[in-house]
Amino acid sequence: MSDQTISTAQTESQRQAFARQRAAIDASARWPVLGFFTGSVVWLLVGTGLALLASIKLHSPEFLDGPSWLTFGRIRPAHLNTVAYGWASQAGIGVTLWSMARLSRTELRYPRLLMFAVLLWNIGMLVGTIGILAGEGTSIEWLEFPAFAPPFFALAFAIVTVSTMVTFSNRREPHVYVTQWYLIGAVFWFPWLYTAANLLVIYASVSGVSQASINWWYAHNVLGLWMTPIGVGSTYYLLPKVLGRPIYSYQLSLLGFWSLALFYNWAGVHHLIGGPLPAWLITLSIVGSVMMLIPVITVAINHHMTVLGSFRQLRYSPTLRFIVFGAMSYSAVSIQGSLQSLRTINEVTHFTHYTVAHAHMGAYAFFTMIMFGSIYYIVPRLTGWEWAAGGLISFHFWSTSVGVLVYFIALTFGGWYQGLDLNRADVPFMTIVRNTLPYLQVRSWAGILMAAGHLAFAALFVMNLLHIGKQRSGPTLFFDRPDAATLTVIGDASGRTV
């Protein structure tokens, strides 16, 4: 019997049975998922600190300089790897494991092995980050961890993939929901990407420009075939779940998934437009990048039509607000990405801070915000404790959303002007450098705002783990709902949301 039958058709006893199932599933997932989430929050704070350092050093180069491990060229890759693999990937794994178990309606498999994977992953993070700061970084973007770190991640991820797929293959739910397709894709694609890229570029003797094309095939696919499926998949799960409404169109879901799988793969070499690669390779990636408009528009329509009519719920639900912000950012940043892969635009934006703004729109405004929303939903179900203070969640939301928007606007404008001037040979280089400084300074302020939000988030997380705050029977919302009193009743058949 499927849990996805229309809610009004479920009897009281069916609802109780499903609730008990969910409790058992959550119990099985508790330690691994909380383990990965804890790791992710720790590295979020580390990565944020490194980010602020790097940002300030760009406009104040003598800030905290001196020892070799504090030089910008080491802090910057340390920042990227800690937020990409420490924060984003661990949050993504936690969300994947829980979502797959819930949607398969069966317990998460191999939780003890998964705890071992948590340990491996975070050891890898520690040795890798120290390695970069010690000067052992590879200077290959997104693959900077020195050769002794990747084996930790490869082994940890093998465990994650096996657990996810075994959980899936033992599913009780006959219908395979769209989120599950994305998660299957993600746990299959990422290990292959990671292993192939590390083997070819770090360990084997591939040299010359082949390294570059493999590097950017890998790096872009980390965004497209690892972060995006988890972000989009989580949106597909939590939007309808929180709203109690169906996803708008199964056909659109199919189209969105398969066109993403088909096209996203090919986009990576757009990082090398104008570079020492033959025209056919560049053109292929440009075509792949523009074709991405198809899955992006599809998913945008699907999500939008699902939420349409219920936007007022954004006033109350933290999960919904973070996720809708993230989903809208996904549409915006992807359309921007398709456009900036066109040669005429790329001629201006390549090599500038514009690209950095775009990267943060994707990795932060899209993925990180969706991870925040997902964690706000999942953690109370694992700990049995609601969030301590709606006010803190609100502060977290506003500081991070305003922060990332200010960041994006500052560096988009700054980078665009930088690019225009770079293309005018009579503009002296030092003038261009000087002109970027105000934008870089605004970015540092935006970063401080975002960091404050992260501190609030970390505080909330710790308080929840330690069961601090008053015990609630209802969810922690931004504002009290007028119908709050009825929300704790089991099996509310009216379709009311929470």
Binding site: R20, P240, P278, W280, V287, R472
Partner: protein, 231 residues
């Protein structure tokens, strides 16, 4: 944590036949109780206009790929060429020598002497209104050919540095272009320098390997080609 299903009971690949049995409904916390059913699919059709939009995008993709694939050859870097022929005809339109000279200056000299020709006080002498640039051409040509080292006075200010030699790096044509450029830029107005005169200086001091000093330059014999022809 309250509801402990023991780890060992769920650590097997196959689950219990009836999960959730251990849980008394009263132990379940509020979050689980108030949840909606798992999400389900709706079945709205794909909007018709969307298929047209996507068709247009795919058409564009095909057109772009067909037009800019460079014949799929590894040696073709220019996407505008379809690999029909391998050679790219070099543009035969003549380029303004001032433009060429400026490029050479930017590439080789501006790092020290600055794009403004003003140098860096105390370190790299200025070229604007400099007696070394505007004066006897033999000195200027030889500075470029063999370099200059040691104390130097330029426009009344003292310098003591090391200018590398460019004789090996740049050809006579290139030296002619860059020197002619600096002699007419930043308010300077002196006649251009011909490649033949550079060649003559190169030949006259072919054995020299050391950089010049200021005193040596000031006592150089006069230029064999005494006067530069204008233009």
């Amino acid at each position: 944590m309250k509801h402990a299903t023991t780890m060992s009971s769920i650590d097997k690949a196959t689950p219990q036949p009836d999960i959730g049995e251990n849980h008394n409904v009263l132990d379940l916390h509020a979050a689980i109780l108030r949840e909606q059913a798992e999400p389900r699919d709706g079945f709205e059709p794909i909007p018709a206009w969307l298929t047209f939009v996507f068709g247009a995008i795919i058409f564009w993709g095909g057109y772009y790929l067909a037009s800019f694939n460079g014949g799929f050859r590894v040696t073709e870097y220019d996407e505008r060429r379809n690999g029909a022929s391998d050679s790219l005809a070099k543009s035969t339109a003549p380029v303004d020598p001032v433009v060429l000279g400026k490029r050479l200056y930017t590439a080789n000299c501006a790092a020290c002497h600055q794009p403004t020709g003003l140098g860096v006080s105390g370190q790299f002498p200025p070229l604007a209104d400099s007696e070394w640039v505007l004066g006897e051409p033999a000195m200027l040509k030889n500075i470029l050919l063999h370099g200059l080292q040691g104390p130097l006075k330029v426009k009344g200010q003292s310098y003591n540095g090391n200018m590398p030699a460019f004789g090996a790096r740049l050809s006579d044509d290139q030296l002619s272009l860059v020197l002619s450029y600096i002699r007419q830029e930043w308010g300077n107005a002196a006649a251009p320098i011909l490649p033949e005169s550079i060649a003559a200086q190169r030949k006259a001091f072919a054995q020299r390997t050391n950089p010049w000093s200021e005193s040596e330059l000031k006592t150089l014999p006069p230029d064999p080609i005494a006067v530069e022809k204008a233009g």
